[in-house]
């Protein structure tokens, strides 16, 4: 009796071990691994780069960036006209486009979507409400945006997801959608090169090529985004060949190893993502600009990157990132790196010395920017203290408290990061240096002359003049130092050797269409 049971048990076990592990004909699909998370599948509220990336592929904007490029081309709109006063943009839409559920796309859908974004007041809605006064339907395929003021970079704004038209039949008018199950019909319906087949939060999104897409057909039939809870597993999965692509975010040690590996290919691009040190300019001690200058001079970027990121990422000497037009290395010219003499000189002029050190708290947030933050703060602290005239104490707060703290002026110096909302130097400067933006981020820097300059930069349409304006702004920045730039992120995509067509653009827009697996 017992031996029969044993026999049956071992046979079952044997069968299971022999069976192969491929379930769900998954060999063909392109599996793209990431440690990011999707928050709300709703252009009216999504404000993170990963969800925007998905939207680039399942939805479309009136204008768009071709994969890997930074110049705008027609998207859902074939063309547009700007009025003489620069406040009216009339878009002529492509005709005959249909959402993946068959409903027609026209100007009403555009207006409906913009009105919805404005009404729902989601996180990114300011990208619409700060600039757009209202939208008019001129014709079935002609829609007019009336702006509050002329804005030089409106077209790049119009290419961002909050402006994406959504299907009025599917999305509820009065609430933000988090999961596709909340939509009518339970599926995401769009105009992009892909349509979503199945969705499980924090697990996977399965997307098939959309046969009704107006643009270039996707080179692959199915893309699956596989969500990993930690970088280590993702790295191992890539090395074992279980996933085809890995993008955001691997640990520095993983990046280093994968770069050296001959099993995978590395694709890098300069990211638009910057990290910097903010000062609370409303309180002591950093209401004194000389002290801010001193701290900025103490930062020694190359060894910091070496330690924290094993040499990855690039030192940054201006709030306007490298690769953006008008960038100049303002801080390098003014201070260099780890300029001990300058630090001592500046601090001594304000009455500080080895026996009377400048004391302050250096704050960071431990998980919002990844877990390298702890190390970043530790190394920065050590650099500051090594000057001999500064005593910095490191403190941390989780993101929620961190935001509270900066509103309440609790943190005198704190680390922050920035992903751009739209590709323009304005987004890297006015957001921190303008009176309103600065207060919103706990920096509380205010200078009327600066505000005037930002305004000029926003409204000026001549490129040469704009460049000159932003040069001036950056040089002023190195003088006033409301924030001190530290480094600019490098984007790393790793893929199996037989994957082609990964085009990473500085806009962080990652299109799945051109990717294919070659034999």
């Amino acid at each position: 009796m017992k031996s029969i049971k044993l026999f049956v048990f071992s046979m079952v076990l044997a069968c299971l071990t022999i069976l192969p592990t491929q379930g769900f004909a998954a060999e063909q699909a392109l599996v793209y691994g990431t440690t990011e998370k999707v928050i709300d599948m709703d252009p009216a509220n999504a404000y993170d780069f990963h969800t925007w990336e998905i939207f680039y592929n399942i939805y479309q904007g009136l204008l768009r960036y071709p994969p890997g490029e930074t110049n705008l081309v027609p998207g859902l709109a074939e063309s547009y006209e700007i009025s003489a006063d620069g406040k009216e943009y009339t878009f002529t839409l492509r005709q005959g486009l249909k959402f993946t559920d068959g409903s027609h796309f026209d100007a009403t859908a555009v207006k409906w979507s913009i009105d919805r974004v404005m009404a729902l007041k989601g996180d990114p809605s300011w990208l619409v409400t700060d600039f757009v006064d209202h939208v008019d339907v001129v014709d079935t395929y002609k829609v007019k945006f009336i702006l509050k003021n002329p804005v030089a970079y409106f077209p790049s704004l119009a290419a961002s997801p909050p402006y994406y038209p959504v299907n009025p039949n599917i999305y509820p008018k009065d609430k933000i959608v988090r999961d596709p199950t909340e939509l009518k019909g339970g599926k995401l319906v769009g105009l992009g090169p892909y349509k979503v087949v199945s969705f499980k939060r924090d697990q996977e999104i399965v997307m098939d090529a959309n046969p009704g897409f107006y643009g270039e057909k996707a080179k692959n039939d199915r893309v699956v985004i596989r969500y990993f809870a930690d970088a280590t597993t993702m790295r191992l999965a890539l090395e074992k060949g279980e996933i085809d692509i890995a993008f955001k975010s691997l640990n520095p040690s993983d990046i280093k190893d994968l770069q050296k590996s001959d099993k995978v290919q590395t694709i890098t691009a300069q990211g638009p993502y910057i990290r910097y040190l903010c000062f609370c300019c409303a309180n002591e001690p950093f209401d004194n600009k000389v002290l801010r200058q001193a701290v900025a001079a103490a930062i020694n970027r190359p060894p910091l990157l070496e330690k924290v990121f094993l040499g990855q990422n690039a030192p940054l000497y201006s709030m306007v990132p490298m690769g953006m037009w008008s960038h100049i290395d303002a801080f390098k010219d003014a201070y260099g790196d780890g300029n001990m003499d300058k630090v001592k000189e500046l601090l001594k002029s304000q009455g500080y010395s080895e026996s009377n050190k400048l004391e302050f708290e250096l704050w960071y947030t431990p998980s919002h920017y990844g877990d390298t933050e702890v190390d970043l703060a530790a190394v920065l602290q050590q650099q500051l203290n090594a000057t001999g005239v500064i005593k910095a104490d490191v403190k941390s707060a989780e993101w929620a408290t961190y935001r509270d703290n900066w509103s309440n002026k609790v943190m005198s110096a704190f680390l922050l990061g920035w992903y751009p909302d739209y590709i323009d130097p304005d987004n890297y400067t006015a957001a921190f240096g303008g009176t309103a933006g600065s207060a919103g981020l706990g920096i509380y820097f205010s200078d009327a002359a600066w505000d005037k300059k930002f305004n000029e930069g926003q409204t000026e349409t001549d490129m040469k003049k704009r460049t000159a304006i932003y040069h001036e702004i950056q040089n002023n920045w190195a003088d006033e130092v409301p924030t001190a730039p530290i480094f600019q992120g490098t984007l790393y995509v790793f893929a199996q050797k037989n994957i082609k067509g990964i085009l990473l653009s500085p806009t962080l827009q990652f299109n799945y269409g051109p990717i294919e697996r070659v034999k």
Partner: protein
């Protein structure tokens, strides 16, 4: 039988104050914390008015007593509120992750039982000999090894150096859970759709985490089994069996163990608390998408309703299991009567 029914009712009634106390502790603890959750949740762009409105919505302006009562009322209706950070009902979030934790805990428990019981019985059999001391030493040592460190070491050995087992997740990257997920218990789900390849994948992914969890707690069961077995082995009927000439191994592992087993089974219930604590640490180490990970994630995000909800569910499970265990014990052991 009437005695038993009365005992069961009394016991259930006693559970209520226990649950109430636990709920109250959870309520209190979560309101001591610093940091205003609402303003941070709404983002840096939100004006004062909107913050106030949201606070009003969530009832955070009410006096403590009112909040307490409405909190208890909600829980009684199995409504754990809505997440402060995401637009998601807490019960949905928990229901999504609970099966993963239960699956892990159950498998861990099986391994603990097998290891603990057999090693304990063996140690009792070889009392005061080298094997006994070794096994008892093992029991102490394994308990002192942090479960997450054991997990990391096993990951290092089996996942990286030997590369035979996966080190994270419930399924491999090319096995899409969204295609078979129904109950949330992947072993059952894959069986239901008869996708044995996926089932094998799920089992392989369960191996290291379940082993890690099971190993750490085996020490306690070794001691328990050994103690019970020592008692049982002294009893008369065992001596009689020996005198009758029944094979020694049969006596120990069949007759004695069966009788020592019942108190062990009930002890299992009390260990559920330890198992759940261990599960949280195991989940973080193996990136297992369960309640433990959910709890920690939401702690970082200061999502109070979800944190509260998770702890309440843990408390309810503990209270529930201890209730069931007491009742079973009462049913089995006629000496215990209220």
């Amino acid at each position: 039988m009437r005695h038993l029914a009365k005992y069961i009712i009394t016991r259930i009634l006693l559970t209520i104050p226990m649950v109430l106390i636990l709920l109250s502790i959870v309520f209190l603890v979560l309101r001591i914390m610093p940091g205003d959750p609402v303003s941070s949740m709404l983002g840096g762009h939100a004006p004062e008015k909107v913050i106030e409105q949201k606070k009003q919505e969530l009832g955070l302006n009410e006096p403590m007593a009112v909040q307490y009562v409405s909190y208890l009322w909600q829980v009684a209706h199995l409504d754990l509120g809505e997440s402060m950070v995401f637009k998601q009902r807490v019960t949905t979030a928990i229901a999504d992750k609970l099966p993963a934790t239960i699956e892990l805990t159950a498998c861990g428990m099986i391994i603990t039982l097998i290891l603990g019981v057999f090693l304990g019985a063996y140690a009792a059999d070889r009392r005061r000999q080298v094997q006994d001391s070794m096994i008892r030493l093992y029991g102490i040592v394994i308990y002192c090894i942090p479960v997450y460190w054991l997990g990391l070491m096993l990951q290092l050995i089996f996942g990286i150096w030997l590369d035979v087992l996966p080190i994270a997740g419930r399924t491999g990257p090319r096995v899409f859970a969204s295609t078979f997920e129904q109950t949330g218990f992947y072993l059952i789900d894959t069986l239901l759709i008869r996708d044995f390849a996926a089932m094998k994948d799920v089992m392989i992914h369960l191996t290291l985490p379940a082993f890690t969890l099971g190993l750490t707690l085996s020490g306690i069961f070794i001691r328990l089994t050994r103690a019970n077995m020592l008692d049982v082995l002294k009893s008369d009927y065992i001596v009689a069996a020996e005198a009758r000439g029944i094979r020694h191994r049969r006596i120990v592992y069949r007759h004695a163990l069966k009788n020592a087993f019942i108190p062990i089974l009930t002890m299992m219930g009390l260990q559920v608390a330890l198992l759940m604590a261990g599960a949280i640490l195991t989940e973080t180490t193996f990136s297992w998408p369960g309640m433990g990970r959910l709890l920690l994630e939401r702690i970082y995000l200061r999502d109070y309703p979800t944190i509260q909800g998770v702890i309440i569910v843990f408390a309810l499970i503990v209270a529930g299991v201890s209730l069931v265990v007491d009742i079973i014990y009462a049913m089995i052991d006629p000496r215990i009567r209220y």
